[in-house]
């Protein structure tokens, strides 16, 4: 029986092979847990056995071997791709997805300073990875990494372009808005306070008017709710909020004071937490951003959106 590693994969740079420990799995990895529990393919065994060159063992029974080189990695990719494309072996597909998730995380990290949560981008990038695996053409002789990388990046970019902006915003303003996000995140720790518009403008190489206009466009920006379940299905009680590093004690206090108030029940956990920090704990937006691990601009949007929801949910006479 051929020995094939099942858990070795690319590291975050996408170029070295390393072992991925279970502890290092990101929340986005849960996306694939259900798929991994799918029943085995009902493909006739004789067809699998006929392909002796590819090995006739089930993928999950292939032993793990550490320290595999790049050539071996390519062989494993080809083996799994053939298992999936020629024999419909879903487990081979799932294994490829798991193996290449660190590559998705690496690429998502490049875009995580643009105002979207890293885990959201990992989920979107994962869709690109799955598309790449599904559309891979065995006859073209290219490596999966070569084919998957532009697919993953394309999916992330498409997410920013198509789903991020709820109204038409000129491209120049979109780009400035994205740049400002980064500039603000750099200025806050440097100045140890929230920057002024003039400081932001100087750092971004823009005028104060342009900065104000670009900041205004961020109100037209939609972000995927982190309350959405990681697998995108509505019946999952676990949202991405549950993976955020929050202080449990503070969270409990917030629940005591506001959970029973009208309208709050309709807010998701992160919105309640952020409103609590701003209006009951008195933290500034920059302080909340640092505590929660998202950008100031994102905090701003979340506060405004949560207040809007509160108004809508509470209705007349309650707020």
């Amino acid at each position: 029986m051929r020995e094939m590693p099942v858990n070795d994969t690319y590291d975050d740079d996408g170029d070295d092979l390393t072992r991925v420990d279970a502890d290092e799995r990101s929340p986005g990895d849960e996306l694939f847990d259900d798929a991994e529990r799918e029943p085995e393919s009902e493909e006739p065994d004789d067809e699998a056995e006929a392909d002796a060159d590819d090995g006739d063992d089930e993928v999950e029974r292939v032993p793990v071997a550490a320290g595999r080189g790049k050539d071996e990695s390519e062989k494993l990719d080809q083996y799994l791709l053939r298992r999936y494309h020629l024999h419909g072996d879903r487990r081979a597909r799932d294994q490829l997805i798991t193996m290449y998730l660190p590559l998705v995380r690496s690429l998502a990290r490049r875009y995580s300073s643009r105002g979207e949560h890293f885990d959201d981008l990992v989920q979107v990038g994962s869709i690109g990875l799955i598309k790449a695996i599904d559309r891979f053409d065995l006859s073209r002789g290219v490596e999966l990494t070569t084919y998957a990388t532009p697919n993953i990046i394309g999916e992330i970019k498409r997410y920013f372009r198509d789903k991020g902006w709820s109204v038409r915003v000129p491209r120049g303003l979109q780009e400035l808005n994205i740049r400002l996000n980064k500039v603000i995140d750099e200025l806050v720790p440097k100045l140890q306070r929230s920057p002024t518009i003039n400081e932001i403008a100087e750092a971004a190489g823009a005028t104060p008017e342009e900065v104000l206009e670009a900041l205004e466009t961020s109100q037209a920006y939609n972000s995927v709710s982190l309350q959405a379940s990681p697998n995108g299905e509505g019946d999952d009680e676990t949202g991405l909020i549950d993976y955020m590093g929050t202080e449990e004690e503070a969270y409990d206090t917030m629940e005591d004071r506001t959970m029973l108030a009208p309208g709050f029940a309709k807010l998701d956990a992160r919105e309640r937490y952020i409103l609590h920090l701003r209006f009951f704990e008195g933290l500034t937006q920059s302080q909340i951003a640092a505590r929660v691990g998202i950008s100031q601009m994102h905090v701003s949007r979340l506060i405004r959106r949560a207040l809007e929801k509160l108004r809508a949910n509470i209705g007349e006479g309650a707020l």
Binding site: I197, P208, E213, L260, A261, Q296, L307, L319
Partner: protein
């Protein structure tokens, strides 16, 4: 030096971007920080949205006073008892009411008498001043 800017907008959510742009430009001139400007936005949005919800209008007038150390906003005229009630202290356990929001993001929130049985709401945002 004190500048006064008068802005009259339709009582509609569609007017809020215009209000934000004007306020932002004014606040940037006196070097309010990004957090402080956003607080100012929240205060105006919450006040005007609450007013709109209660049928105040058809126009809102904002008088923006620009001082060296910050901005004072005088909004009105308002007539409804409902808005005045919401601007009084929130009841314990009532959650995040308008008054709590306003006190959290701006300073010196006051309801002032105006002609014709109306009232105006005045609040300030000072540079570097903490909020509640």
């Amino acid at each position: 030096m004190t500048d006064i800017i008068r802005l009259a907008v339709t009582a509609s959510p569609a007017a809020l971007p215009v209000v934000r742009m004007v306020l932002g430009g004014v606040a940037a001139r006196v070097d309010l920080s990004l957090d402080e400007i956003d607080d100012l936005y929240v205060a105006v949005e919450e006040l005007l949205s609450a007013a709109d919800g209660l049928g105040e209008g058809p126009q809102h007038e904002l008088v923006i006073e620009v001082a060296d150390d910050g901005v004072t906003v005088d909004a009105g005229p308002f007539r409804t008892a409902g808005l005045r009630e919401r601007l009084s202290a929130d009841q314990p356990g009532s959650g995040l009411g308008l008054r709590t929001v306003m006190d959290s993001v701006v300073q010196a929130v006051e309801v002032c008498r105006a002609p014709d049985d109306c009232y105006r709401v005045v609040f300030a945002k000072r540079r570097g001043a903490g909020t509640a």
